[in-house]
Amino acid sequence: MPALLAWIPLAPLLAAGVIAFLPDGRGKLASKLAVGGLFVSLIIALGALLCTLKPGTVIVAPSFEWFSYGDVLLKLGFLLDPLSAGMAGMVTFVAMWIFIYSLGYMKEDQRFGRFFGFLSLFCGAMLAVVLSNSLLLLFMAWELVGLASYLLIGFHYQRPSAAAAAQKAFITTRVGDMAFLLGLIWLYRQTGTLLFFDEGRGLLETGALDSLAGTTTIGGLTVSAAASLLLLVGAMGKSGQVPLHVWLPDAMEGPTPVSALIHAATMVAAGVFLVARMMPVFELGGATGPAMTATAWIGGITALYAALVAVAQYDFKRILAYSTVSQLGFMMVALGTGGVAAAMFHLIAHAFFKALLFLSAGSVIHGCHEEQDIRKMGGLRKAMPKTFLAYAIGMMALAGFPFLFSGFWSKEAIFHSAQVWPGGMGPFVLTVCAALLTAFYMTRQALLVFFGEPRKPGVDHPHESPPVMTVPLFVLAASAVLLSLIGTPFWPWFEEWIHGQAAEFHGGALGEHGAIGLLLLSLVIVSVGVGASWMIYRKVSSDSAAPDPLGAKFGGLWGFLERAMGFDALYQKCVVEPLAFFAGGVDMVERMVFAPLMTFAMSCARACGLISKATDERALNPGFDATCGGLKGRAASVSSSQTGRPQAYLRVIGLGVFVLLVLYFWLGKS
């Protein structure tokens, strides 16, 4: 298995490389290559997953030397443990179904093959992120998934809005990436290694951890805390945490399968994965250390913020995008309160049901002739029964409908983790409120899209999508339900597996302290959220231009939420414009101050020349000229060589220099 591990990311990368050389007309072949490459990854990843079922398995593939500088060898490598195996399994599985869905969804697109090339690049890079045994390799792959995301958001580059969204995504995440890079280097300088596991010398092993915890730096922080905070900023960029979340809603400009795969299921979860992977370093400051506290609070704030904003959106995909931001916040809360297993369980559950929701959204949008405004939909339940069924399962999983759905149990685990956290109840309260809003806005979306009467005259003939698009929906829907089997408190297989232990049945899990209370709380949250939404949106006006019932009531607040609390405007005012102004100022100084300085220096040089010329002409030349007069006559014969053409002079000078050099080298003793 160790030798095969590298092929999980390599197979799609190779496919991407080959596709890059295919002409646009060979789209079919490109898609076959992409699916084939991913299939190889899927098989190996499932095999790898089986390997880790024995509790406590950690397989470190032999690392290879990348290059050396001075006396230092820089090594990279791959790693298989439950964390990476779970991620790799999820990524390949979800990606495979999204690839298949895309075969139908992108059929009409002229650049069909290019699309699969970019998807393959993304999958390869994403798998390298999760399987990497080196923080450096992880970072490199992390940048590559950013590139793939950039390329795919801007896939329809002819649309200026898509190109702008792609640029915004890359630059916003790069803010985080620079912090990540500095954190990475700091850890490297402190411990001398970037490998996670390296026979006791790795970054996540005792020796390095001790050295990290033992050194303090500016502000009394330990190096571990400072570096963790930097890595956290990196994770915030990729995982859309406030205040670096602004790119994610705009990223919905990308084709819907891209939103499903990259901006819902996998890439945006990379930040969560990073924190989970680096948890031993985060935890060095204790459960309430600065790194953990920051993670928990940022997660909580993000969860609530995005849930609030999602309530006031009208675009089908934007609602889902804010919901993704919010759910990523849940995962961060779990991580910050020490619940790695809860975070990972929610990550994987979320990947299934959110991919499902986006694919359903794609199916709806496709069926409604590219309409995305939910005010103009309505009543689609009858026209698209299969899509509705799939969507309903995804929606119930996200909203946290009890017992049957994985989302319910994963959220439960997060509540539990946040509740017992010794650092305070803040993150817990924030997540509970966010969960309530989640149930609310998802019910709103479901009611507006699938219930009631059709509201838009233009969207008169919605049609169901072909099987190539509906089958993936059912597979993902089934996964979202079945996953709950391994994550209940009665048989917490997943949690024990992540922690490297064998799972046992806990028949009496509910009897434990507070467990029944949490379960009841979850039930109340869902009922209140769904109920309130049902009351408000049950009978919505059949006029698509009518304002939202809540919007009509709370006009100012609603507008504020609709504008996502003004982050974009704030950045425009506080970052973009000042930067442009500053750059203009610098340019002005360059042109107005430095350039004239240069001119002045040149004038000085010229003045020296003039003075010297004047002395020559006034003081020296007259006598010289008299002498020369006599020579003039004889010189006339020579003057024929003086053609006055610079080329001729240059040639002679060049020849002379050359001859001299040849003589010089020839005479020199070598």
Binding site: D24, G70, L147, Y157, P160, I171, A601, M602, L661, S670
Partner: protein
Amino acid sequence: MLSALILLPLVGAVLLGLQRGLDARGAGRQAGIWALVIAFLAAIPNPSKPAEWTLAWMDDGAFSFRFAIDGISWLFLVLTGVVTLLAILASLLWEKGSRAYFALILVIESALFGVFTARHFIPWFLFWEMTLIPAFLLIHLWGGTGARKAALRFFIATLGGSAFLLVGFLALQFAVGTMDFDALAKLATRSELAPKLATAFGLPAVAGHNLLVMVALAVLLGLAVKIPIVPLHIWLPAAYTEAPTPVTMILTGLLSKMGVYGLLRIFLPVFPEVLPSLAPLLLGLSVATVLLGAVAALAQTDLKRMMAYSSVNHLGYCALAIAAVAAGGGREEISSAITGVVYQAFNHGIIAAALFFGIGILEQRSGGRRGLSDFGGLRSAMPVFCGLFGIATFASLGLPGLGGFVGEFLIFNGVFGLKPLAASLSAIGLLLTAVFLLRMIRKVFAGPLRNTTHPPADLCPSERGLLGAAVAIMFLTGLLPAVLFSTANPAILELVKILHP
């Protein structure tokens, strides 16, 4: 071998000069063949066995001129071969130049080979100056509308810098009686330079240190103009913008590297005693270079001028690493920073040449226009060009897997260990690079195709080959850096030994 490298381009230049009536096309073809052969020759020397070659100028041992190739030199030779070839072929493609033009480019190549191999100040300085006149003429005679002024500025600024270089080394010659770089380095490691300077100038021994600082400062000044380091960059934007684009490729790809090479080969090993006194100044200016280059690039609307500032920014990282090394610190950090400088210099040479080549293609397709807003939607009409140029752009902003990343990672790795604050500030430069480069991609390639009646043609096979080759090198150096760069390691270790005994 060594002498052949220096002489061959000159032979080519002279032959071009002798063929009266040869048109530009024929001259370009000939020059291309010369450059191709020379590029291969430049790549041949085996840097694991340093080659040396001495010329006795006078019987006095102090003036025996040594030339040598080690791993560091070799990389710069390869870079020179590749970029010159690229520039000549680009000129040929765009039907630029004449016999004299190609001959002058070959003269520059010869001089560069001299600069990158000479180990004695006199030949080194001769070759250093020998790049200047052809470059001046190339800008002056074949440049754009403001070329005469720009060429003069370029000439005077670099000449001014050179004067300081010369004075510095004359002082050393006067004091210690040698201008051989290695001999000077040996003296420096025994801390003999400062006392000898003091004695030579009849000053008390305590003044020796200050004298040496002044000498080092003079040398630094001369080198810094070429790189350039702020505020000595004032000649650069106009020169890079006004020069014919193939010449800009040489200016940024090669002439700027002379300064970096000089810092590595002369400044660091000869002045280790006074480096800590100069480090704060150099560090501050380097951070300013990184940031100013990036910020000024943001404000540009002329693509060439923008790339000119981008070059200032990228070479600022080299200066930054040198400055941090000058401040001193751990062996591993120093190794990392110096290795980073070498990688960055090489990769920037290739990447910047490729980017300017791309801008040249844009100019050629649009009849000379190159404003940020003169294009739009070109990806529809020129998908292959967009792909290759896009890869070069991402290499420039340091995407892992492509050339630029390795150098920048090593530089930041080293600098962060030595001077964390400077590294953190400079990281802002990395961020801003992405801003202006991606904005360029968006404005030029994205959106609806602007010119639908006469859409520009995509790359012809030769253009594809040239840009493709440059991109292939970026992949090679980004994925398997050891292939090209492991050869430089022994030379780097030797340098580290001087700086961290």
